[in-house]
Amino acid sequence: MATYTKYEHTIEALLNAEVDAFGTTNTWKVAIHTDAPVVGTDDELADLTQIAGNNGYTTGGEDVQNDGTRAAGTVTVACQDVVWTASGGNLGSSTTGRYFAVHDDTSTTDILICDHDYGATFTVASGETMTWNTGASLFTAA
C-alpha cells in the first residue's frame, strides 16, 4: 500500500469533534494536489495547491463514500474507489499532480485527514484515467 501520511492536526480535530470518521454522516473527499504536504502546518484543504478544476477534475475532489464501522475496540474506515477520467485536455490541465489528500468536506474548513504520495508527478491525458483505490480500508483506529 502507499504509505499513509497523517496530518498532525487530524487527531485533535477528531477528538474535538471537528471531523467525523464514524458512519457516513460526514462526507470525505479526495483531492489531487501538486505540493508536498507539510504535516505540521497544513490543516485545511486551502493549505494545499490543487490541480485546476477542469477537464474532468472538480476543485475539492470527489466523494470517497467513507463509512466508519466498529468491531470490538477497532474502528475501520472504508471508502469507495474514485476514478477521474480526463476529457478535453489533461486532467486539471496539469502535468504536476502527485499527491492525494483526503479531507472532511462537511467540516467547516475542509479539515485534512491524510495524504498519499504517488512518488512521481503524473499527467492524465484526455481519455486516460487515474483511480484512487483503497482496498479493504483507508485506515483503522484503536
Binding site: 502507499a2 504509505t3 512518488g119 481519455g127 484512487w132 483503497t134 482496498g135
Partner: protein
C-alpha cells in the same frame, strides 16, 4: 525516564511519518525528489493467469467506464505494469494499464490496506 522510550532527535522526527522519515524536514514549497520505481515488468494481460489481476483493479475504471474509448474498456487486450511509489514499499501500489490500440494509460493508485497486490516476473 524509561530508556526504551528514549529516542534520538532524528528518530523522534522520523516517527512523525513517511514524509519525515524519507525526506527529512521540509518546508512549504519544497519539491520532493521522485521516488517511484518499477516493480513488475510490462506484460500482456492475456499472458497472465486468468484472475491474476483482481477485477477490482479494472472493473469500475475500465470495463464500466463509459467516458473512455471503446478499446480502453477491454483490459484483456491491454498490457499491464506494476510500480512502487517508493522503494520501501513492500508490494506494488501502482498498476498501469496500457491500451495496445490507442496507447492511452490508465493508472490505479492503491492506497488502502487489506487488499491483494498481484506481482509477476517477465512472462
Amino acid at each position: 525516564m524509561d530508556p526504551k522510550h528514549m529516542q534520538s532527535p532524528n528518530e523522534a522526527f522520523a516517527a512523525l511519518g513517511p514524509i519525515a522519515k524519507r525526506h527529512g524536514r521540509i518546508k512549504k514549497g519544497d519539491v520532493l525528489p521522485e521516488t517511484q520505481v518499477a516493480a513488475c515488468p510490462r506484460v500482456r494481460m492475456a499472458d497472465l493467469p486468468k484472475g491474476w489481476i483482481p477485477a477490482r483493479l479494472y472493473e469500475k475504471n475500465l470495463e464500466q467506464n463509459q467516458l473512455i474509448a471503446g478499446c480502453c474498456r477491454h483490459p484483456e487486450n491491454h498490457d499491464i505494469e506494476a510500480r512502487k511509489s517508493h522503494p520501501d514499499e513492500p508490494a506494488p501500489d501502482i498498476y498501469i494499464f496500457h491500451c495496445n490500440e490507442c496507447s492511452r494509460k490508465h493508472r490505479v493508485f492503491c492506497v488502502g490496506t487489506g487488499d491483494e497486490r498481484p506481482m509477476w516476473d517477465a512472462v
